[in-house]
Structures are given as C-alpha cells and as structure tokens.
Assembly symmetry: C2
Homo-oligomer: 332 residues x 2
Amino acid sequence: MKTVRLSIIGFGAVGQGVARSILSKQEYLHKQGIDLCVVGIADSGGCEVNKQGIDLKNAIARKKQTGTVAADSDGVLDLINGTDHDIVVEATPTSIKDGEPGLGNMLSAFESGKHVVTSNKGPLALRFSELKEAAEDNGVMFRYEATVGGAVPIFNLIHEALAGNTIVGIEGILNGTCNYILTRMAEERMPYELVLKEAQELGIAEADPTYDVEGIDSACKLVIIANSVFGDNATYHDVDVTGITKITPEALELANENNYLIKLICEATEGKLTVAPRLVPKRHPLAVGGTLNVASIQTDLAGRITISGKGAGSIETASSILSDIVFIARNS
Amino acid sequence: MKTVRLSIIGFGAVGQGVARSILSKQEYLHKQGIDLCVVGIADSGGCEVNKQGIDLKNAIARKKQTGTVAADSDGVLDLINGTDHDIVVEATPTSIKDGEPGLGNMLSAFESGKHVVTSNKGPLALRFSELKEAAEDNGVMFRYEATVGGAVPIFNLIHEALAGNTIVGIEGILNGTCNYILTRMAEERMPYELVLKEAQELGIAEADPTYDVEGIDSACKLVIIANSVFGDNATYHDVDVTGITKITPEALELANENNYLIKLICEATEGKLTVAPRLVPKRHPLAVGGTLNVASIQTDLAGRITISGKGAGSIETASSILSDIVFIARNS
C-alpha cells in the first residue's frame, strides 16, 4: 500500500467534493494499492493540520456548522511549506485579475517540492509557463484536469490516451451556462433575458453572469488548452472573444430551419484562439445540448476524437482531481 | 533517449500502418525522449530480423512488390522468443474460432518476458483472463487499445483518465459497418440489401458481411470491454446478440417520425452483455452517424462520459497501437 499525503487548499464546493470523494472511494483506492491521507485543510478562516490524517467527515460537518475548518493559527503557506506531504490540491476561488491566492499557493508548493493538482483556472490562464517551469525546476508534477471541462478528461485524453498523435486543432463548448442558455432559447424559442433568469433561478448561472455569458470563462479554459497542448505562452487577453448576449431567438430559429444550432465555440489552432457563437450542424459531434461540455480534437493519426460530459458540479470536478491524484500516486 | 525495441507480427494493413506511423512520427517521438527501433517483422511468408533496426521504408516497399517481407528462414516464434526486444506488436488476422495464431504469439511473448500491444480481437474475446494472467505472471504489460473502437481510446479513458471512478455501465456503437448501413438506410430510405451492396462497393463491408452485420464483431469487442473493466471472464458466446439484417426502412422511418434513430447498441453492465438494435433519441450522445464508433461510459463520480471517433482504418488503428507503445515506453 502506497500512502499519499495531501493538503486541500480551499474548502468550498470543490474542496469539499474532493474530501467526500476520498471518503467514498477509500476502499476502491485501497484495492488499487493507494492510501490517500489528508494531512491539512485550509479555507479563508484558517487551517486544520493533522499529520496522522484529518477526519474528513468531521471536517465537512464542522465547515457546515461553523463556516470554517480553522483549528490552527498557522497560515496557508505554513501548511503548504511546513507540513510534510506529497500533493497540494489547490481549490481556492479563481481570480483572473492576478491569479491570487492560487498562484502564490502553487508556486510555494512547487518550491517546497510538492506536486500540485488544481481546479483553479485563473493562475493557469495568466501565468501558465511560469507554473509549468516551476514544477519542472523542482522535479514535481503539475496536473490541472479539473480546470477545463469539469468531469471531461481533456488533458489526459490529449497527453496520455492520444500520445503519439500531433494535435492539429481543438474545438469545444467549454461553458455549461452558455450551452444551457442557447439550448433553452432554441428549444423554447425564448429570448435571452428570460432564459438567463431561469438559469439563475436554477443555479446554472451566477447572479452576475458576465464571466460566463461574455465568454471570459471559455477564453480562460481555451488559453489553458492552448498552452498545455501547443506549448503557447498565451493569456486570456490573447483570445478573440465574443459572448452570447446578442443572440436572438430569431437567429436560432433561422439556424434551426436550416438544420443548424448556434453554439458558443472555443477554437484553438496553433497561433489562433477564438471564442465566438458559431453555426454547428445538428448532426455534428459538437452539437451537444443542456449544460454538457464537449471537446473535439483534430489529430494527425486518429482523425477527429470527440469527448463530452458534465462540465461542472463539485463531485464531477472532484472526479478530475481524483484522477490526477491517482496519476501522481501511480507515477511518483 | 530511451530506445524501445519492437517486433511487428502480422504485416497487413494494421502492421504496415504501424510501420508508416513510426516512420512519420520518429522526430516527434525523439522530442519526447523515445526512440522506437523495429528489430523484427513477420508475415505469413516469413520474417525479417535485424538487431540494428529494420529499414521500414524498404520493408513496406518489399511487401508491396513481393507480397512478403520474408528474408529469414526463422519462424515467427523464433523471432518472438529468440530476438532480444521489448514489445511484441501482435497484428495478425483475427480468428474467433481458436484465436490463433495471435493467441500463441501473445503467450510466447509473455513467457519470454516481452510486453504485448495488440489490435487482434479474437484471442481476447476467447481467452482474456489467461492472457492477462500470463502478462502478470511474467511481470510485463498487456495493452490492447486497438482491439476496440479503432482510433477511439476507450481503455485508456476508463483505466487512466477516469481513474478513481467506478464504472457502472458502458453502452456503445462499436461496428462502423453496421452504423454506416443503418445511417444510410435511415437517410436515404433504402432497403438493407441495397445499402449493404453500396457498402461492399465502397470497401466498408466485407464480401461476406456476416461477422459485422450479425453483431459478432460487436459482441467480441463488448466482451473485451467487459473483461477489462469488470474483471469478467466472458467469451463472445456469453453475449446476447441480435444483428441488423431484419431492420426495415419502415422501422427506421417510424423511428425517425418520433425523433429516434435505430442503432446497433452494445451494452455491458456487471453480469449482462447485450448487442441489439435499439431506439436512440436523435439528441442522445450515442446518436453518431456514418462509420463512427462511440462509447458512453456511466461512472459514479464523473457521470456519463461519451467519446467518439473513427472506428477503423489502418492509420487510425495504428494510432491506438502507438499510444500503447508510448505508454509502455513511459512506464517501463
């Protein structure tokens, strides 16, 4: 049995999803020879550290009751640097202004010789190369499957499953909120504002939906894909972005009459990054509905490979984090 | 640079596709620190062995001119056992009667301490557990991505990218010939016999189409999935199989009027294996057309993940073989 010691930095929906997944999959992972031991949890209120392993059930309950897991006066960086462990799971809220606090947390983790697994897009959309180099310089792994596509394992597919293929281009729908709004507008012939309100009531769109509907979230994800796949050094400012706020039910109806859908498509080829509404034939692999995410990868040998699944949700995101943790456990 | 020495056993469309892929990707693989060196090729006419590495261009040209690469009087098993190398790529024609010659080739490879990468379904549909145990007993790897779904990396997706997930069930369309026939019948309202003839003329269906249209090929692939994912010890005789020969244009038309398609669906849940024509909603992830293959994997954490792509073709199949070779190069 290989014991892998983790910290979980950020204990919101994703961090708690990781803790719940570890709890529910303990036996399954033991059968594969992996024992996951969480030695530290941090949230905005403080930290809990226990070198023998934190009682995760208790931590989740405490977070629910008191709003924090804080039991220690130590700061987050003390936990990352000062506590002996293998993997830092970075799941703090994302910022596309300066990438903090995720950026600092990840760099500290690398400098203290720890692998990083993250769901936090901001730092990767701003400073991808720097993070990648920091990991390489310190001889540790940097895994970020959960930053793009929720449960859909896009990076593993490209780097592992399609190893040997040269990636020619990638198209995808990477924002479930926009996909939901466009799907409902087309199916119910409802105007944008009404569907947005419905999505907000269902918790699919935020109170301030700008980040999603203006294509910023999609652009951040596209940048991470481009940097990871093509070795670009792009930031989200390099993406040509158009959102979905100007799309009318009439445009969707006209598309429908000609057997097309309108989708917010992210496209990366070497040197060009675009997020914009596009006509997609109804029978095209990208024509997935509801909140689904999809990525279609054009390769030299395998041709076009398309993968779709749930793009959000705490357990779905935890699934991607868990597969990254298992990858590190198997390969370290 | 890590040198990985291979033999290619079987030098038809797939074996030559592997050779062509290695030739075209040499520089790409060198950049990843991998040098692939083919030290032996076998076809039904004999073997060529060269410990310094075979000139693949020359071997392909010779095969085209003379019908064989044979330059040596040694048999295939002498090449597998007697020549020092790391990976046996087994790409001989498949037999679902006794699995030979693939079965014997793979077992010899394992016994002589060599990893096996294969596209050959027959041996796996008949004797999966025995092969898996032989690999484990000899401490070598057994990779078979190319046996199911052509270029679509189903096994890597399940075992690596979705690691940490428990697989609840798998549905898929795993035979491009049947999918092509049903797609054309629905779109053109043509009867089965006419579309089959068209498919035969296009080289999509064999002169004797039984293996495809009666669902036998699908059943073999489903068995390999079930054995690999659920640890079953099934053979293709355990699958409840119905083919597509009885499907009428009228049935497809009726389905179409209700927004359904008819597809030959393979389904594996723990303990039950079925191949049969099924109604699939047009918006369902499994509703892919033409010769495409698709697999939809139901998991406990990630929900449903669906992947589609080209299910056949020598370069597409070589893509899956190459990714297995790279996996072994990285992990051995």
